[in-house]
Each structure stands twice: as structure tokens, then as C-alpha cells.
């Protein structure tokens, strides 16, 4: 373990020393020690289940450690609640966000820290709050109108409001949990600007992410966790991405993307003719053959997700035809497509994928009930067998088949959703951001699974906002811009520059790679 060299006169803002935390069946953290300094971005990486979430929950007071100490400015702290942590100057901004949608930006900024009127104690001092809110946001997001309701803001601006709230409360340490998972490139740039500015003000930032490129771009130091243990803390400029990956998964990732097998069958799985649902997408023609992975590329929000949803019947297209396996079909709802052998892996797993309270087994078998059911009845044994076989195939890690799916990590949940599609014996897989919020190890596993699917003659249509994913995985790439398909590229034709140029159209912005 290398300890970073830092100016001796500067003491860490927060020191975590030998933090230990056990959950039923798992040792989530084992003697993890960490020094966090002001004016420094400290990235925290690791596979899902490595202990990142637990660590930040402990730092932010949401979870109490079983052992070890937290020192702030050399003084031992014991955070019993996030409120206490906040009082000590530690704020956490989670993926899900903690803003109240029905309230305005200003009201959210002061939520729980309202300013009272100097004379009338029971009333809030609206004028003073508005002024302070404005000045706090001016630093990071001048474009936001503080009287807008938060639910009307896009995701990136919501995040900025959360950061603004932390600034207002004079936070000294800010923990960002996967802050870019729902942002597009431009929004990410803006967020990085804000992070740089926070650094300049002496705020310490803990940055949790799966995206290793971001680690390189924004962080000063990086700590890698694996299986609850701290692998190493390094200065970012001293490590390369392959080193990080090796540290995270404990082995070499010799082959990142699986090899393509030649000799695909020319039978069509899906053909779209003039499919339209304005304003999301317009006049789309597209073909997916069996044994072929077709990718949609282009800027996020160019209609790709909506197109996928129309293909699976989640939303009905207004114009155009859909042919599945050679026949024109009428699609009113996912009931139709699932019956025809189409499976959908939604982009927002929590909202559209998992049934949180149900067991992994039930979640997995959900689309396959007509297969394992006998006249509408289900034998638990059949369900268990189905789960057993797919669990094996996908390497799903759950305590047992009756564990509620909400207790699983993101990657494992995603595998269950994928397993649901496989169990339904789908022949066309429609994947929206199949690796979003999934850790590196699981990612490569999912790539392999997708490749296996087409090797077994299924067709795959996927969208990913990570260009390297599209390039590495897909046999054919359709580039979309503002709802229209602007190009169809074969694997040989496609390149990062070409796609970027097509995606941005006449106004090319170089992509930071």
C-alpha cells in the first residue's frame, strides 16, 4: 500500500482508520483506511460488491461501522445519522438524488436548513433565502431559475442543485456517488467544471464511479477496493486504466470484448419500415438479422431509447410497420412482443426492470411462466430448476433463490433481468444501456453473454451511450441524430471519429476520449 505524499503541514479533512463492517453473510469492509484531504478529488473504484457503497454510507453517517474510527481534523467522530455527518460538513450526493420534485429549486436548497425571519420566528425569511440561493447557484449553475420546480429540471441540473445545497451548508467534504451515470457528455463536462471549482475552494471530493476514463480525467488520487479490502491508494497520474482494472478484478482482462464468430445466418429477426413516433424518432428503417448484434449510436436523447421502446411495444409507434421474424405484426403492448419472442432489457433497471419485493427466482421466471406453467399452474420445482440453470449460465450471485432481488447488487440485478429474457426463450433481445451502473467485471461478463446469444442464432438490438461498447460489441451500427437514422455502418466501417462526426452532424464537437 502506497501512502500518497502530501504536504506535511496539511492534515487530512477526514481520516478513516481500519473501518470494518459486516452484513449477514458478507464482510463488506475489512480494515479499510483512507485519508481524505481538502482541495483534492479522491476517486473510489471497485467492482459492485467491493464495498464502495458501504464505505460512503459510513462516511456519510447512513451506516455505522462495526469497528474502526473516523477522525475529523484529528478528532474521533461517531456519525449516528446523515444529519450529524452533514453538521460536521460531510455531504453525500447519491445517484437517486434526494430532492423533492414538487418543491422549487430554492425550497430544495434550503430544505431542512430554512432561514427563519429575524423577528417572526415561525415564518421563513423568503427574501434572504432567495438571495442566498441565487448567489450559491451563480457559482455553479447560473442557468438555473431558482423558482422552477425541481421535477421540471433535467437530471444534470438536479445534481447541480444538490451540490448547491451542500455549498450553502458550507460542506467541507462532498461525496459524489456515480454522478455521471445519467448525464451526457456535455453535462459531464459542466459537472467537471463545477468539481474543479469546488477543489479550488478547498472542498474535498470523494468521487465514486465505474467509468475509469473519468477517474483519469478528474481525480488526483484513486483508491481501489476489492471484496471489502483496500487494494491500493495511488496518485492518479501514476496509474493507467489497465492497472486499475487489474487491481479491481484481481486478474488481467486479456480479452475485453469477445471475439466475433463468422458465418452469421442471413435470416431477419426484425425489420422496421418507416417507423415514426414524432418527436422522438422519425421514419426509421432498420434490419436486425439473426446472429447479429445491431447497435444504435449517437448522442444520448436522439431517440434511441424511444425507438427501442416502440420495438418492444412499451410505447406504440404512430406510423410505419414492424416485421418480426419475417412477418408484419401489430404490436399493442409488450404482451404481444414477449409472446412473439422479443425480450427487452430496460435502461432504467430500478424503474422498469426489477420487481423489488419479489425473489430473484420469481423475477427471473416472470416472462417464462407460459413456458414452465402447466395450464396456468406453476410448480415451484420447475421454477427452481429454471433458476438453477440460468443462474449457472449467468453467474448470478444471490444468497439463495428466494432472496428478494432488491438485496442484490446492480450487476447481479442486471443479470437477473437478462436471465428473465433468456428464460423466456426470446429470439430477439432489445437492450437499452445493458451495462449502465454495472461494474467492470460484470460488464465483460455481459458482453460475453450478448455474444453467446447471437451465437445461438438470436438477434440483438442495443443502445449504449458508451461508444467503445457499441464499437466493441456490434456487427452493425446505426447512427441516430435527432430522431433520424443518419447512417448504417458495418463493423469494418465504424470508427469513433466517424460516428462522432455523424452524431453531431454539421456542428462537430470533438469528443474527449
Amino acid at each position: 500500500m502506497t501512502t500518497p505524499t502530501k504536504a506535511l503541514d496539511e492534515r487530512p479533512l477526514l481520516t478513516a482508520s481500519h473501518i470494518r463492517k459486516a452484513y449477514p453473510g458478507v464482510l463488506a469492509l475489512d480494515a479499510v483506511s483512507l485519508d481524505l484531504y481538502g482541495g483534492e478529488v479522491h476517486a473510489l473504484v471497485g467492482e459492485n460488491g467491493a464495498g464502495k457503497s458501504t464505505l460512503i454510507k459510513i462516511l456519510s453517517g447512513a451506516v455505522r461501522p462495526d469497528g474502526g474510527d473516523l477522525l475529523m481534523g484529528g478528532v474521533a467522530m461517531s456519525f449516528n445519522s446523515p444529519v450529524q455527518a452533514r453538521r460536521s460538513g460531510v455531504a453525500t450526493i447519491y445517484q437517486e438524488g434526494s430532492l423533492v420534485g414538487e418543491l422549487t429549486v430554492e425550497e430544495n436548497l434550503f430544505l431542512g436548513q430554512e432561514l427563519n425571519h429575524p423577528r417572526m420566528r415561525f415564518f421563513t425569511d423568503r427574501a434572504r433565502m432567495a438571495k442566498r440561493a441565487r448567489s450559491a447557484l451563480d457559482e455553479i449553475a447560473p442557468q438555473i431559475d431558482i423558482s422552477t420546480k425541481v421535477r421540471d429540471l433535467p437530471a444534470d441540473q438536479r445534481q447541480l442543485v444538490e451540490i448547491g445545497r451542500a455549498l450553502l451548508a458550507s460542506m467541507r467534504l462532498l461525496i459524489l456517488d456515480e454522478p455521471t451515470s445519467s448525464l451526457n457528455d456535455r453535462e459531464i463536462e459542466r459537472l467537471f467544471d463545477v468539481v474543479e471549482r469546488l477543489k479550488g475552494k478547498g472542498v474535498g471530493v470523494v468521487y465514486v464511479t465505474h467509468k475509469l476514463a473519468e477517474v483519469q480525467q478528474i481525480s488526483d488520487k484513486v483508491t481501489v477496493l476489492r471484496d471489502g479490502c483496500l487494494v491500493a491508494t495511488r496518485r492518479t497520474d501514476e496509474v493507467e486504466i489497465p492497472d486499475l482494472i487489474r487491481m479491481m478484478i484481481g486478474r488481467d482482462l486479456s480479452e475485453w470484448f469477445p471475439a466475433v464468430k463468422s458465418g452469421s445466418v442471413p435470416q431477419e429477426a426484425l425489420r422496421l419500415r418507416g417507423l415514426s413516433r414524432p418527436p422522438a424518432f422519425d421514419d426509421v428503417d432498420l434490419v436486425v438479422r439473426k446472429g447479429e448484434i445491431v447497435g444504435l449510436a449517437g448522442l444520448e436523447g436522439s431517440g434511441q431509447s424511444e425507438l427501442l421502446r416502440a420495438v418492444v411495444g412499451a410505447e406504440v409507434a404512430s406510423v410505419g410497420t414492424i416485421e418480426l421474424f419475417g412477418e408484419t405484426v401489430r404490436i399493442d403492448s409488450p404482451v404481444d412482443t414477449v409472446r412473439l419472442g422479443v425480450a427487452y432489457i430496460p435502461g432504467d433497471r430500478q424503474r422498469d426492470g426489477v420487481i423489488p419485493a419479489l425473489s430473484v427466482r420469481t423475477n427471473l421466471a416472470l416472462s417464462a411462466l407460459r413456458i414452465i406453467g402447466r395450464n396456468g399452474f406453476i410448480r415451484p420445482r420447475d421454477e427452481e430448476e429454471l433458476y438453477g440453470s440460468i443462474k449457472e449460465q449467468l453467474d448470478i450471485r444471490a444468497r439463495d433463490s428466494r432472496t428478494a432481488i432488491r438485496e442484490l447488487s446492480g450487476g447481479n440485478q442486471q443479470k437477473v433481468i437478462l436471465g428473465r429474457a433468456i428464460a423466456a426463450r426470446a429470439r430477439l433481445f432489445v437492450l437499452d444501456e445493458p451495462t449502465r451502473g454495472v461494474d467492470v467485471g460484470a460488464k465483460s461478463h455481459i458482453y460475453q453473454l450478448v455474444r453467446d446469444l447471437v451465437d445461438q442464432e438470436a438477434g440483438v438490438l442495443l443502445f449504449s451511450s458508451e461508444l467503445e461498447e457499441v464499437l466493441g460489441l456490434c456487427d452493425v451500427v446505426y447512427v441516430m441524430r435527432t430522431g433520424k437514422v443518419v447512417a448504417r455502418l458495418t463493423r469494418a466501417e465504424a470508427s469513433e471519429e466517424k460516428i462522432a462526426k455523424l452524431a453531431f452532424g454539421d456542428d462537430p464537437v470533438p469528443r474527449s476520449a
Binding site: 426492470g353 426489477v354 421466471a365 399452474f377 406453476i378 410448480r379 428466494r402
Partner: protein, 345 residues
């Protein structure tokens, strides 16, 4: 209860790890674990334990509570409530609820009485199920076709079905049955009362539907996350609609028992029953948003309400205070259930 077993094994593995001597704090830790295990076990036992405590309390206060006779008595009273609670469980699992159950009972009672007069008891029983089931069909189709909230639709039905019952009967009870009419409500086979036998049958069938059929899976999934269920290819609208129909059909069975018990077709029968049924379901740990809850726990919910009512009656507690007590129990049950879930994760 599967959860109970699960947490038991969890605790064991955790304790196992402690024994590996991973850290020097293993001793106080394992004591704390004992503590956790105890409180977790207490909470897992939750509802049945509360029922037992209630029984002990009443038996101490009033020895006549703990007689076999009174046991039979409570079993009969419990059975009547349980059937309606089973009915309510279906729409609740699907993420809704049905507050027209009480009115369905009134309507089914009147229809059953008229049908029995014309065509005999079997037809009467059938028509009771048809009447309440018909109400369920209207509820289900309205909710799923127009996407109106279950509260509004069943509130409307609460009024409509009661009005229809009063209209059909001119507001007057319908009398004049031969002796076997009372069999469903008052009859006994061996030591078991007919209501108890019928409730048991409804429970067994309901349990099979929920746990061993495609429909049951679909219902849990729809209530648990309607969008995810839809995208997984589940016909969520139909699933919801059917939950109201099942609710009506079971209510019709219960209404027949109740009608037989009062030996007359009563348009006002079942007033307020919908809330008692809902209370039993909630005490049984069902989430009002849907997707969570086991039918077996509804039994306990109904048992607690019945014991409470019978016990307080025997203690001569005013019925006003009984209403207060039920209110306290409902909220306490939900609070404790919240704790149970948190302790588990």
C-alpha cells in the same frame, strides 16, 4: 414463513464469521448479535406472537375467554371476517383496494334471498357469487379500462351497489326460507362450523391461486412494479381487473354465509365490512402499494381483530373503546411491520 427461516440462517452465518476470530471485538459483538437475533426473531414472529399475547391477556382478565366453547365461538366469528379479508387481499396485492365490499354483501344478500325463494338454496348461493362477482367485473373493467383510481371507482360502487340492494328489496329485509337456509351460516360438521369450513376452503384455493399459478405471479409482479411487469410481457390491466373480480366472487361466497347466518336477505348487510377487511389485510402485513403480503398473514390479521372484539366484549368494554382499540392495532401493526422489514435488510 420463509422470511423467518432466511433471517435465521443469516444470523447463523454472521455468528459463524464472528467465531472465526476475525477481530478482538468478537465477544461483545456476539452478545450484540444475540440481542439482534432475539429482536429479529421477535419481530418475525410478530403478528402470531401478538395474537398469542392478546389471548394470554384476555384469558387472565376473563377466564371464560379461554373455554373451548368460546374458541368455537371466536372461530366462527373469525371465519366470517377472514373470507372478506381474503377477498380484499387480491386487489390490495395488485396495488389497489376495494371499498365496495360491504355494499357487495348487501346486494348479494338480497339477490341470494330472492333467488333462493324462486329456485332453491344452491341457486341462491350461485346468484350471490354472481351478484358480487358482477360488481367486481364492473369495478375491475372500469379501473383497468379508464385508469380511474380504485378508490374513486369502488367509492362510487360503494354507493351504487348499496342503492341497488335497497332498490331491489324496497329497503325491506327479505324473509321466508325453510330451515336448511341457515346451514351455511350456522351449521356444523363435527366440531367445525360451516363458516370456518368455508373460510378454510377459500383460503386454500386463494393460497394456490397466489402461490402456484401464473396469475398469482402476475398479480404480485403487477403490484410490485407495474411498469416492470408490463415490460416483462404481463397483461397488467387484465391482471388488475381480475383481482377485483376475484374479490367480488369471494365476497359473494362470504355474503352467502352471512345471509344464511341472518336467515334473511338484508339490503343493509355488511355495512362497514370493507374497512374491517382492509384492516385485517393491513395488520397481516400487506403493503398498500401492492406486491407484498402473504395470504397466511391475513389469517392472523383476521384472528387479531376477532380476538380483540370477542375479548373486549367479554370484558364488557364499551364498543366505542373497541373501535379505538382497533385503530391503535392497525397503526401499531404497520409501524412494527416497518421495523421488521428494516431489521431484515
Amino acid at each position: 414463513m420463509p422470511q423467518g427461516n432466511e433471517s435465521e440462517t443469516n444470523q447463523v452465518t454472521e455468528a459463524g464469521r464472528e467465531d472465526d476470530g476475525l477481530s478482538k471485538s468478537s465477544k461483545p459483538s456476539s452478545r450484540r448479535l444475540e440481542f439482534t437475533r432475539l429482536s429479529a426473531a421477535l419481530l418475525q414472529a410478530g403478528i402470531p406472537l401478538a395474537a398469542v399475547l392478546l389471548c394470554v391477556f384476555f384469558a387472565i382478565q376473563e377466564p371464560r375467554f379461554a373455554t373451548l366453547d368460546n374458541g368455537v365461538n371466536v372461530a366462527r366469528q373469525f371465519a366470517l371476517l377472514a373470507v372478506f379479508a381474503f377477498a380484499q387481499a387480491f386487489p390490495v396485492l395488485g396495488g389497489g383496494f376495494d371499498i365496495s365490499i360491504g355494499s357487495q354483501v348487501g346486494l348479494a344478500s338480497v339477490v341470494m334471498a330472492l333467488a333462493t325463494q324462486s329456485w332453491g338454496l344452491a341457486a341462491g348461493l350461485g346468484m350471490s357469487v354472481v351478484a358480487a362477482g358482477g360488481v367486481g367485473v364492473v369495478n375491475g373493467l372500469t379501473i383497468s379500462t379508464f385508469g380511474v383510481s380504485p378508490f374513486v371507482v369502488t367509492l362510487g360502487m360503494l354507493s351504487f351497489a348499496r342503492g341497488l340492494a335497497l332498490y331491489i328489496s324496497d329497503g325491506v329485509p327479505i324473509y321466508g326460507f325453510n330451515d336448511n337456509f341457515g346451514f351455511l351460516g350456522e351449521g356444523e360438521i363435527g366440531p367445525l362450523s360451516m363458516p370456518f369450513i368455508i373460510a378454510t376452503a377459500v383460503f386454500v384455493i386463494g393460497w394456490i391461486v397466489l402461490n402456484r399459478t401464473t396469475y398469482g405471479r402476475h398479480l404480485y409482479a403487477t403490484g410490485g412494479n407495474v411498469e416492470a411487469a408490463r415490460l416483462a410481457g404481463i397483461p397488467v390491466r387484465r391482471v388488475k381487473a381480475i383481482s377485483y373480480i376475484l374479490c367480488g366472487v369471494i365476497t359473494g361466497i362470504g355474503a352467502a354465509v352471512l345471509t344464511s347466518r341472518v336467515d334473511s336477505g338484508q339490503p343493509n348487510l355488511g355495512t362497514g365490512l370493507e374497512l374491517e377487511a382492509l384492516a385485517a389485510v393491513i395488520i397481516g402485513g400487506f403493503a398498500l402499494g401492492g406486491g407484498e403480503g402473504r395470504l397466511g398473514n391475513v389469517v392472523w390479521g383476521a384472528i387479531i381483530i376477532s380476538i380483540l372484539s370477542n375479548g373486549l366484549n367479554l370484558l364488557r368494554v364499551s364498543s366505542y373503546i373497541q373501535l379505538m382499540a382497533i385503530g391503535v392495532v392497525i397503526v401499531t401493526a404497520v409501524v412494527l411491520d416497518g421495523w421488521r422489514k428494516r431489521v431484515r435488510t
